[in-house]
């Protein structure tokens, strides 16, 4: 398993290629890539800054990853989350899961991004033409995370 916080741009395609390379036990890999949108609520986004809580972030991501492994038969997990300032079109987050079969990989990938969004200490600051604003938490994200509660 790998959990990484990165301060500069990363290449999801290259990361996924490395994740899959040389594995013959894996039957399927699922992945989610989150990208900075150039528009939010009708306003254009010039840039986005991700703040986080160093230490707690890594601890929470490791815990969420361990939970995914406890629930699904995963062969490997990769989570990369960028912090700092980034531009529209650039990747923010990559989650990838590898399993013998697709269902576990797809479900675990969905679980990981849902819980990451609601349980890892990251905060988004958007820069718009009218100024900077902190992104508000969305009830739909809480609902998505809640479907995995037991």
């Amino acid at each position: 398993m790998t959990v990484r916080i990165v301060e500069g741009p990363f290449d999801p395609a290259a990361e996924l290629a490395g994740f899959a390379r040389g594995r013959e036990d894996v039957g399927g890999i699922a992945s989610f890539t989150g990208i900075v949108r150039g528009e939010h609520g009708g306003e254009s986004i010039l840039a986005m800054t991700l703040e986080h809580y160093p230490g707690m972030t890594e601890r929470q991501l490791a815990r969420i990853e361990a939970e995914a492994r406890a629930r699904w038969p995963l062969l490997d997990v990769l989570v990369i989350h960028r912090v700092g300032r980034m531009l529209p079109g650039e990747p923010i987050v990559l989650v990838a899961t590898a399993s013998a079969h697709r269902a576990a990989a797809l479900e675990a990938c969905s679980f990981l991004i849902d819980w990451l969004k609601t349980r890892a200490p990251f905060w988004k600051l958007e820069e718009t033409p009218s100024g900077a604003r902190w992104v508000e938490a969305r009830a739909s994200d809480d609902a998505a995370a809640a479907r995995w509660e037991r």
């Binding site: 703040e51 230490g55 707690m56 969004k117 200490p121 990251f122 905060w123």
Partner: protein, 90 residues
């Protein structure tokens, strides 16, 4: 030591950091401040804008020694408490 608590580091993140005007501070709360909720109230006396943020339910979240914590979490032996708005990563 004569019964006083050790210094505690209090950290603020995102817009809460901006409103308080500090990323972190080292504090020695009085002994009667025994829980996260009591610490919030005590900090609110020092930082009026922190008190304002805490007045709205569910807006200010806390972590104790880097674990999410509710208002009733005891502070005995705690080194670091953080306050922040709901998370918005991913």
């Amino acid at each position: 030591m004569n019964g006083t608590v050790e210094d505690m580091r209090v950290r603020y993140f995102a817009w809460l950091r901006q409103r308080v005007g500090l990323a972190e501070e080292e504090l020695e709360p009085p002994t009667e401040v025994r829980t996260v909720g009591a610490l919030k109230a005590w900090l609110g006396e020092r930082h009026p804008r922190f008190a304002e943020a805490c007045a709205a339910p569910g807006v200010v979240r806390a972590a104790v020694d880097q674990e999410f914590a509710e208002d009733d979490r005891p502070l005995a032996g705690v080194r670091e408490v953080a306050f922040f708005p709901p998370v918005t990563g991913g």
